[in-house]
Symmetry: C2
Subunit: 476 residues, 2 copies
């Protein structure tokens, strides 16, 4: 970490001169070189906690050639460059902590080619994930990864963070759909990372190295995704549990019985209650004795089979201490439940200053993880609201500041988080399932990795970006 810090100090902290700006105006034209207060403030934050790191300038290129010219110049002049998608990240990955240039990718907003014959799409990174999904759906094609922010996040940001979402449990995460990437290197060279094929044993897998590398290895300018045929039907169940730990236990029981739902989400009572207040919905009754819910979706092309599966799953969860299962089969009811689930993060944020941890463990260890979180909360004096993709063992732990003193928040809590991550790793898990390391999890990387592993990663970073201009201060 220290190396990295000194390295940052030696860089030009956003010290962009008129000469630099003149060059950028030549490359992307005057209109796309932004130094006004509003844009600098916009690019200083994302959806992570309450962080602010202003760039010196925001550039809005629209082609790989423009990105190439910018990177070549910045590399020569050692100017930090941080790519930004829609700014919905939850680990501070898009924040220009070393100042310099923010590459705002919003003009890369075209879906370039829908290849129906090959079940592939080539898209630019600045396309909103949900718009991409809906455009594809109209063609009978399905791109499953669906982060909670899908209505506003960019597909490029999803690639940078290897995002997941509820459907990952059945369909996998972003990395499972990326076939090939066009990427501009720090040197300005433009490469493709692979080929547009379903199987590839040709050299090192640069594609998979770049997915999830958080903009530290290059700037992705085109994305080739594999697609699957659209799925026709789904059913949704909401199961209220009187014990949160039992809800976690039930998750594994579903899989052990041989079922793979298309979503299996866990929400602690607070998560659902706060979300209902936030979206002003009274759609779900919430008796006093309910500690948590599971939201379980099954999908497929045969409605009879879905009903059979849903009933079988209902039978499995009924072995636990639950209240009445809600079967949502109307479109409106499903939408309402999914909205409640998707809005939990925003609801918590609107409620209190908070930190969100993105723990992930082997699925069967979830009950133990939840027990540990609550015990650590008692020990370190924090209240947590837990929810997330239980089917993947991916539990978001929202720690709310509420009544905690500033001193405890800044000094005692990090020790508690350190303890939490240590337990997560002991359970076979790791410190981020889908949000990335970015800025806020960086101090904990030594828990997940040995110095030897970190050194390998740092050296790989150097291979791609010798001068460390790309998103400096992130991951390591």
């Amino acid at each position: 970490m220290n190396d990295c810090f000194y390295h940052l100090c030696s860089m030009i902290y956003g010290n962009i001169t008129e000469v630099h700006l003149a060059y950028f105006r030549q490359v992307v034209s005057m209109a796309y070189v932004l130094t006004d207060e509003e844009n600098l403030i916009r690019c200083a934050s994302d959806h992570t906690e309450d962080l602010h790191h202003r760039p010196a300038v925001v550039l809005q290129p629209a082609s790989a050639d423009e990105v190439s010219s910018i990177l070549r110049y910045c590399n020569e002049h050692r100017i930090p460059v941080t790519a930004r998608g829609a700014g919905t990240g939850l680990s501070g990955g898009a924040l220009p902590v070393a100042g310099g240039v923010v590459l705002d990718m919003k003009r890369f907003n075209r879906i370039l080619h829908i290849d129906k014959r090959n079940f592939q799409v080539t898209t630019e990174p600045g396309v909103i994930t949900q718009e991409l999904q809906e455009t594809l759906k109209a063609e009978g094609l399905f791109y499953p990864p669906d982060p909670a922010s899908k209505g506003s996040c960019f597909i490029g940001g999803n690639v940078a963070e290897n995002s997941g979402g509820p459907r990952a449990v059945k369909y996998g995460v972003v990395k499972d759909y990326v076939l090939n990437l066009e990427m501009v290197l720090a040197s300005g060279e433009v490469i493709w990372t692979g080929a547009n094929v379903l199987k590839n044993a040709t050299g090192y897998n640069l594609t998979q190295l770049v997915v999830g590398s958080e903009g530290t290895l290059g700037i992705v300018t085109k994305i080739v995704l594999r697609l699957i045929p659209a799925v026709k039907h789904d059913l949704l169940l909401l199961v209220p549990f009187r014990s949160a730990v039992q809800a976690c236990e039930a998750v594994n029981a579903v899989f052990l019985a041989g079922y793979t739902p298309s979503a299996l989400e866990f929400m602690e009572r607070d998560a659902l209650e706060w979300s209902m207040k936030y979206v002003q919905s009274a759609g779900v009754s919430l008796p006093d004795d309910i500690q948590a819910h599971l939201l379980i979706e099954v999908d497929g092309n045969n409605m009879d089979e879905l009903y059979r599966d849903a009933e079988a799953i209902a039978g499995i969860v009924q072995q636990y201490d639950i209240d009445e299962v809600l079967f949502a089969d109307s479109h409106e009811q499903k939408q309402m439940l999914w909205t409640l689930r998707r809005k939990v993060g925003e609801a918590v944020k609107s409620n209190s200053i908070y930190k969100e941890e993105d723990t992930v463990v082997p699925r069967a260890e979830l009950p133990e993880l939840l027990t540990i979180i609550k015990a650590l909360g008692n020990e370190y004096g924090f209240h947590s609201v837990c929810y997330g993709h239980a089917g993947d063992g991916n539990l978001h732990v929202n720690i709310v500041k509420a009544g905690m003193s500033d001193d405890d928040w800044h000094n005692k809590l990090p020790q508690g988080i350190r303890r939490l991550f240590t337990e997560v790793v002991r359970l076979g898990g790791t410190i981020s399932g889908e949000h990335g390391i970015g800025l806020v999890q960086r101090p904990y990387m030594d828990i997940a990795f040995s110095e030897v592993q970190l050194q390998l990663m740092r050296q790989i970073k150097q291979v791609f970006d010798l001068n460390g201009i790309l998103n400096p201060g992130k991951i390591f």
Copy 2:
């Protein structure tokens, strides 16, 4: 390539002294330091063409600690080390072209932990893939990747080559199942590449970088695989086509209709005919006018649905010029058809000196690929037998020497292969789908990659193996 060649020349070509042997005997005991003729010859070849590269010594370690001691020593003394699994590779990846040490991994033959609760298995790399699959199946668990050599190949070799097999079309390849690897670096350090979780956004994806890296980045000593619930039923169809190109066209029609078979294999007439002779089976009638077959499997847990799918697929292929579809629903009949398919490679090998290319293109480009292959055969005077995983766009092109002169074989044919790979890349494909680059495809890497891409890969190699002791002369 030249750099690499000079680099090799500067290494100790198998110049193992008594001092070295004494050290090795200390590490793995006398019994596992082999210098006898039989073992040196055994480790000089794999299943690739007719290649022979003898090591100076074969070591059979049985623990990561032993591998670590060996690598540390070899790194210090610049002794080449090439790992070897079962020797079933098809690109010469396990051949010690620079001499030195072969690490024979056969003693790493234990399945260490079947974690039924988490649908995971931790295994050593020297376990035979089919034995692993059968052990897991007995526990209700399913590890899908099934290369043709599954009865003899090692799971470690599958990881090294990112192997596929017929089921990849529905279930993905090896990389889609590897969660975490224990690996010994050239320096002797032992690391894990990731964590035992289904989602991971923590640092660079070293796991996916190592899968398919052909033993050039480290020696894998433990493998953690994710598993899925066992599937109960399957049905198999054999469809005889009067036009091979139409058979390729039918492949895509099946997917466009929304079906994803669990296998969709293509075999040219020669492939099936030679395989029938090789295994002395008369199981399939082969009328004179049949040019190719598709072998189509569907699997699932609901037999009624499988019959419906199989009938629908039969309906789709009937739009082409086909003979009668064979529905194989007895276990014996299915076994017979799969044996014929799996033995094609060996059958071709027993028939003639040959070269096997492992082309892969976006699926819908298969008919064009087949047409190109035959046209190049006419132009360069070679006969080819094509078969493979058509559902993935992965076509194995077996070029048989037959009547070709030695001069044409050695001088003219490589030009034809170069033309073939150039066309494959033009179609959006690449030069190896599942066999790896190893030794034999190395001369063609410049077709798939630019110098910038190759330089990135070479530098990554250096990060892991500064002195280039691990499997030198492969990939680059």
